[in-house]
Symmetry: C2
């Protein structure tokens, strides 16, 4: 293999090895991810993922919270931006594109009335807008292909643009 | 008003005031939320929300990451669980239900092949399962109505179960 073993600090051997492994054995591609959330009073809670420090959550004062942490809809934008960042790093590295800087701005609109129960309607985001600022010396057509590939394959992005089943069960 | 001013540590006056304000002036219900993500190398990035400490992101070693933080699809489950926790706290308090304990377990399935580019298909979650463990002395029918209301009005939950527009623009 003539590919450099690292570009954008990405471990290309690991990524290539994973792609080869799931191609050879599709069962290895079937992953399950988990989180455990514990309510700590008022609008505060903590989400525990594996051994990591919990992701704390609260609401702004204007929504009746203690304003001690990002709220869940902000966390959703954060997850989307972080997902796109991985997508850029992975796909750029495989394509031989060096990323010098990458910043992603995310904005989304919510009508609070359905959540507050004062009006029926869609309580979620009505629209999410993402602005990607990517600094690279790669040719424009390579960059354009990169943007397209990342947008088309983002796990968080596609969990939002597709309607996915969420079952909520009391236990 | 005879309602208690606080239940489950929730500021009922603030929540009631907000509901009244957006009913009187729907423009006040139109909110925009934001995050800024900065790539820090390899599969690591940081999402900044307002003045809070950044939400750090990385991938597990098996996916070529440094395993220093929850990954974006885990953050998505965390956001969903935290959103449901707010929903339970708010709706229970308005309904006069005391919550003694609330824990939420979230699991979701992803086929990695579309993200890795080895197969076309849906790169996002194919299914998300939520188990809610709620301890309360309230009557069963009140609890059942609470579960129904929270599931129907969760901003993050409904951003997943509905297909929402996400526009990604290079700037």
């Amino acid at each position: 293999m003539s590919t450099a073993q690292s570009l954008n600090d990405v471990n290309l051997e690991a990524v290539g090895g994973l792609a080869a492994a799931v191609t050879a054995d599709p069962a290895k591609a079937q992953t399950t991810w988990s989180a455990n959330v514990h309510w700590t009073g008022a609008f505060q809670s903590e989400a525990k993922v594996r051994e990591f420090a919990p992701i704390k959550s609260d609401e702004p004062a204007g929504l009746g919270g203690g304003d001690s942490a990002p709220n869940p809809v902000e966390q959703l934008l954060a997850a989307l931006g972080n997902c796109l960042a991985v997508g850029y790093a992975a796909n750029a590295s495989v394509a031989g594109i060096e990323i010098k800087e990458l910043d992603i701005r995310l904005d989304g609109d919510i009508d609070l009335r359905p959540f507050l129960g004062v009006m029926p309607g869609h309580p979620g985001y009505s629209d999410i807008r993402v602005e990607v600022s990517l600094v690279s010396d790669a040719p424009a057509e390579q960059i354009a292909a990169l943007h397209e590939q990342v947008a088309a394959t983002s796990p968080v992005g596609k969990s939002l643009t597709a309607a996915i089943p969420v079952s909520i069960k009391a236990v």
